[in-house]
């Protein structure tokens, strides 16, 4: 465990590079998708806990901050109380690999009103490990990793 901590301590904050894209405009009432591209820029595989991140695949936590013309858009999806994770709660990213995660944000946020929506994921990732044998690990051993994703905008237009 001590060796692991040393490794992670030496890992720079940009171990995971993040790009985000969203359509410039969407007609009100149509689904809104945001695509996250997360790249492992280290020489080691990364084992990423999916909770509270784009790796959840669909909104299952309030991991995004969304505003419409500056006003917060409330999250309406589920919020879970979690215990220790299971193996299936981790995603694997090989060295240099990119995970592309398309999230249908309109499933959990109301995008029905026209306006300019800003969508931000500010991280951090709740637990990231570099050794497969270390995961899943109990909550008390989790090591969060910061991730910097750019904020994207999409405009909802009247149909």
């Amino acid at each position: 465990m001590a060796a692991t901590q040393g490794t992670e301590g030496a890992t720079p904050a940009a171990a995971l590079r993040c790009e985000v894209s969203a359509p410039q405009s969407v007609k009100a009432g149509e689904p809104v998708h945001v695509t996250f591209r997360l790249t492992n820029s280290t020489a080691q595989p990364l084992f990423v806990l999916t909770w509270r991140s784009p790796f959840e695949g669909e909104p299952r936590s309030r991991f995004l901050e969304i505003t419409r013309d500056g006003t917060e858009v409330p999250y309406q999806g589920p919020m879970f109380k979690r215990g220790d994770p299971e193996a299936g709660d981790y995603a694997t990213l090989a060295p240099g690999a990119t995970a592309e995660l398309k999230i249908e944000v309109s499933l959990a946020y109301d995008f029905s009103r026209p306006g300019t929506y800003r969508i931000a994921f500010r991280g951090p990732l709740m637990d990231v490990a570099t050794q497969q044998a270390e995961v899943p690990r109990p909550l008390a051993q989790h090591r969060a990793m910061p991730v910097q994703c750019p904020v994207v905008e999409t405009t909802i237009v009247a149909p």
Partner: protein, 363 residues
Amino acid sequence: MSTSSRYLRWLVGGVVGFSLLSACGAPDEQIDTADGQSAPEATAGDVAVSLSMGSTALSARDDVQVTVTLTNVAGHPVKLLKRNTPVDGIKNELFNITRNGAAVQYIGRHYKWAAPEAGDFLTLGTGESLTRTVSLAGAYEFTETGSYSISYAEEIHGGGATQFASNSINVWVEGRPNVLPEEAGEREVTAFGLSTSGACTSTEVSSITTAFNSAKTYASGSLSYLTNTTPSGTARYTTWFGTYSSTGWNTVKSHFSSINSAFTTKSVVVDCSCSDSAYAYVYPSQPYKIYVCNAFWSAPNTGTDSKAGTLIHEMSHFTVVAATDDWAYGQSACKSLAKSSVTKARDNADSHEYFAENTPAQN
């Protein structure tokens, strides 16, 4: 977990209305509101009734509260006339009560009921339960000290057709003056509302009921701690919410005030249909429905990460309660959060749960 949006389908094509008592097999199953019309009215043997009380002896200062659980054992949905159930409090002679063998007078309200319409019925889905804790003090005469025997009325007096057989409970009650129904009435209607959905088994209903009562104790205990302790950097406060400030203390106090009043005055529904490995989940914009999952069932009733604590965690999420988020999970991460961000700690559901559970106890 599949990527199909089983937790999110409700937002697609408009929000599905939630009816507290409609049959509801799974979170993504659209509620069939036609059920209420189509289900046959319950007949003898369709509904099992169980009664319980927290104590076997009550002093004159104690309220006489009984917890009633009605479970549909018919094998198909059934409808019940609401006034023959405690769903909205005691509005009818729902109980048979005797003292030392003699019948005890019903002093509650007598309503003149019109012929029932569709809205006067509730539907219990197959295996579904309804639980209410009601105060008997405004409805029956407890002026004499003695041993009281309480059961659910097998037949509603005044010609109700529905038959309910229940267990009988015995309780020693110290005599007290009658409470006017006008004084007790308001509380009966709103207080202590717990019902279940999603095909909870009777064992599950009983552990939910116990957890719900313990969660109420946690909520009122937390509120009274924050009200009666001189605000300062106590160990209990700083462990979960970080460096003391009067603003911080008051925010947490207002959260527990809301949590406490939700547990004591709102109709809470606990749903058993989730099979995720998590403890529980809620939709923050849909109070007061709490979905309990696998980890909930193996948790202890009280203490760290307990059933009662999980209900505190979930109740804090509702936008109309404390609108908390999940910034950190588990005691260790929550202690770190209290050190790194007091703002996030005050906005974190598990931090509220651990403060309420207070295990190991701190002053």
